[in-house]
Symmetry: C2
Subunit: 594 residues, 2 copies
Amino acid sequence: MTEEPGRKDSELGHPHCSMGCGHKDDKASLASSQTASFSHQPPSTPASKEVWKKGGRMFSILLAVHLALLACTLVSSGAFEKIAVHDYDVFFLLTVMMLIVIIWIIFYLAGTSRCPGAILGKDSHAGPIWLRGGLILFAIFSLVMDVFKIGYYSSFYSCLSAIKIIYPIVQAIFVVVQTYFLWVSAKDCIHVHLNVTRCGLMLTLTTNLAVWMSAVTDESVHKAHSKLKKNMTEEIFRWLLKVGMRSSSEECNCNSQICQIFKNGYFWLYPFNIEYSLFASAMVYVMWKNVGRFIDHHSHHIQRLKFRLFRRTFFVGIMLGLIILVSGLGVLILYEVQVNSRTESSKKSQALTMYYIFNIVCLSLMSLVCIGGSVIYRFDKRDMDRHKNPTRTLDVALLMGAALGQYAISYYSIVAIVASTPRDTISALNLTYALLMIAQHTFQNVFIIEGLHRQPPKEDYKHESHQKDLCGLTFVNINAVSLRVPDTGSALAAGAASGTEAMHASDLVRSLTAPKKMNWRRKFLREISMFLLLSNIILWIMPAFGARPQFDNDTELNFYGDSMWPAIVDICLPFGIFYRMHAVASLLEVYIMS
Amino acid sequence: MTEEPGRKDSELGHPHCSMGCGHKDDKASLASSQTASFSHQPPSTPASKEVWKKGGRMFSILLAVHLALLACTLVSSGAFEKIAVHDYDVFFLLTVMMLIVIIWIIFYLAGTSRCPGAILGKDSHAGPIWLRGGLILFAIFSLVMDVFKIGYYSSFYSCLSAIKIIYPIVQAIFVVVQTYFLWVSAKDCIHVHLNVTRCGLMLTLTTNLAVWMSAVTDESVHKAHSKLKKNMTEEIFRWLLKVGMRSSSEECNCNSQICQIFKNGYFWLYPFNIEYSLFASAMVYVMWKNVGRFIDHHSHHIQRLKFRLFRRTFFVGIMLGLIILVSGLGVLILYEVQVNSRTESSKKSQALTMYYIFNIVCLSLMSLVCIGGSVIYRFDKRDMDRHKNPTRTLDVALLMGAALGQYAISYYSIVAIVASTPRDTISALNLTYALLMIAQHTFQNVFIIEGLHRQPPKEDYKHESHQKDLCGLTFVNINAVSLRVPDTGSALAAGAASGTEAMHASDLVRSLTAPKKMNWRRKFLREISMFLLLSNIILWIMPAFGARPQFDNDTELNFYGDSMWPAIVDICLPFGIFYRMHAVASLLEVYIMS
């Protein structure tokens, strides 16, 4: 609902929009502009169209807010045993939502997108190849998870409500359809059926978020039960009653080996499904922002950037990152084994010490590297890229917002440790870990945001421009100066054709004067982003696949009690985990752009 | 952190900025622009200044986020008895924050704002007179509250930690200094000491939010204890121990009559202090957005609007609103008396029935009126105002965001009522109430947002333009058409001088063709906004001064349990209460603009 005065996109009557796919708004627009040209009244179309656009956006936002709140209410109520909302109520809602989304997507692919003039331009920033690649990877794991879920529930089909089986089947169809849809249409800027498309996209977004909430809650409940109440078998039995079985007869237990494999398998695959939902949400949001947008000419220059993974680096970043990654995997496995063995208390504290030390080393290195990267950016003379780019705006907002989750956990930890009396080694390590977590998130955000706002390097231009003569150069140089003085992004965008030429020239001047220094800096930036990328992957894997030092360490649990601390961690940790995966995607972009 | 391509504001070297108050950035900017004009290199100043601006904004945001999280952690931990964080820890943090803010404000008023070239323009949208008037009103009540607090704690000075007395004293100074600061400087667009000012403003914002959090928590704890555990005197005694007294000796009890008056008085005045903090936060945020902004010429036209309360209305809206307001006050007093008497259960259900029926009638009327208003806007031919306006963007975001609080409560209520078995009259009334609450918030938001985005009426122009001849009219009319076609807000803003003239003309044409219809519509809109304004005041008063049907009605408490339902209500209701007061301010603006 923010205002963007310099927007290039609008829903004015456009020659292409008014023909075909008879959308009544377009017809009305055509009619009223004809009226305006016959009579000499001022054209009221822009104003009324603008009202309608705001109305369309507002309506789709309201739809999303209400659906999201309803889903949130049901999911959070369903998580508690004593509340009379069951998980099949949640599954029913989600199944209905997914079915509606599937129908809309088919309508979009078969109808809307085939209208003449439906897609006038594509947003080259939206849905980059690595995001779509990641989406497909996660989609495949999600499908495997759905197969496992179907297998698990089929093991005791007789004593289940049908929705338990229907849900994973519908989810599998939903994942396939949505992944195809995003692969094909992520860059679309649609110009027909505006309101239907906005509502459809918002419904898709809400459905993905609801699936994410449901998965996160389900996983948290599972973890909490298996961690905190491992020896209370009765409790587990009651929980299984709620989660899996409606009757308590013997045949409804998951006793067979294959059933156990299915069950463990689908819980191990949850993290991928969670990331899938979030990746899809981000892409759908960008599509929603792009509905009715006209694309400037300049936006296409980024397409020239090729994805070359191993280009002119010293491999130091990759090597260091891989060492961290492999040793992190080792630490995680050792930690899980030692914590879950539950034979001795000393083993547990050993495992915690090891976990904290590894994380402290890793976070310190990452913080130092981020500071180094920010210092390099300080001396970098590349222009800032200030063009409209919904994808980047969303990236930055998500990085800042998702970091709040980890910040909150760390602050609560710090208060608990400082206020608690027994100050042993583990407390000291935990405190250092929490402080470094805050520092590392902050420095990394600063580094990534600076990196995302730089103009991509223009190596190609260097070769092209050598043919230009000095006269043309001086002319365009002056042009560049005059363009910069008003310093409005829109002025640059309005004169996009000449602006691009101006950029060529200013880049040429710079590349002629100091080509060597630039290369050194760029190489360092590449090393840094590759190292950070690999480190973020291991910091994603650890909490996503079950490491919960927050519960294995008793300090916070004793300080905040059994209800408040799990609530804090269960609400905030999913955002922290999402932050890591999102940082990986953003760092890949920084790597490619530097 | 959003991108605004069409921004008029920037931190380019400006002739006024570079002299006086020797800010090193300004000097650097001057030096580098001189270099650029001597050598023929492209000017790198915009880019590096832009980096620095982003850096300054980012740093102040990070500062605010970390302080807010720390305060949130301490406040939420301090609210629980069993957690070893005491309220004097919170008071200590808040006192330190307020002292730093007071020092910064004095530095700003005495130093920054007196620099030559510090304030090049004023944002006429920021800090309108009704917002500043409201701020002063709430400030006065806050001061009275502080006096009551000082009186209350002075009654048993001997057994208190000193911070308990220091806190209200510092708060009183803070309120006085901040109110003066906002009265004087709310419209400033500052151009020197950019980073210090940004950090200072963010610190002020965070301090206000922390004070708000602390007040809301304190009030919730007080309400929860006096409502839920009225007959458990032991519990109250323990709570009093935590809130007010550190030793349990007899003299530390609040037994004297004057002490009781002080105590009740300050709890009754809490709602005003809460609103004060939120109003101040909103104004400080707009000031922060305006740091380093250059103001367009067009923004000044709104200053012509005069605040005339009783202009050409039928008084129907005001009359109906006053009836609702007075009867609402009666209902509130009856409700409080009957619910708190606790002699019979039937009286309580009578009170609840009365409360729900009043609210249902009120909300239905308001919803209908909002729908009517939106329909009138559909036929309104006034142009949309699409100029940059941080105040309005914030207003819309706050309306949408704060409504989420009431939405969440209503959705949880609905789920609980639908899933619970005993379906009596009160449940039916409660369900209707929750559904109408959702509907009314939605319709009201749509109405207010549409109203805020309209161009203000230009009655003055009508008289001026009558002298114009037809030739001039036709010319400007064509001008208007040509200006609209690219439909970029920035194009309109860039040609502001001619654009304003174009608006004159198009408005003139419209006012010549249909002056009567416009007047009818406007009068209706005024009636509607006045009625909604008064209704929102009573809907603010009811929860702000203690009506809690959410706890008096047992359905939700039994369904969600004693820990989850209070958590939901205590977190969400403050936003719901804030929504009402914010809607009042926005409706006043809609009233004036229609």
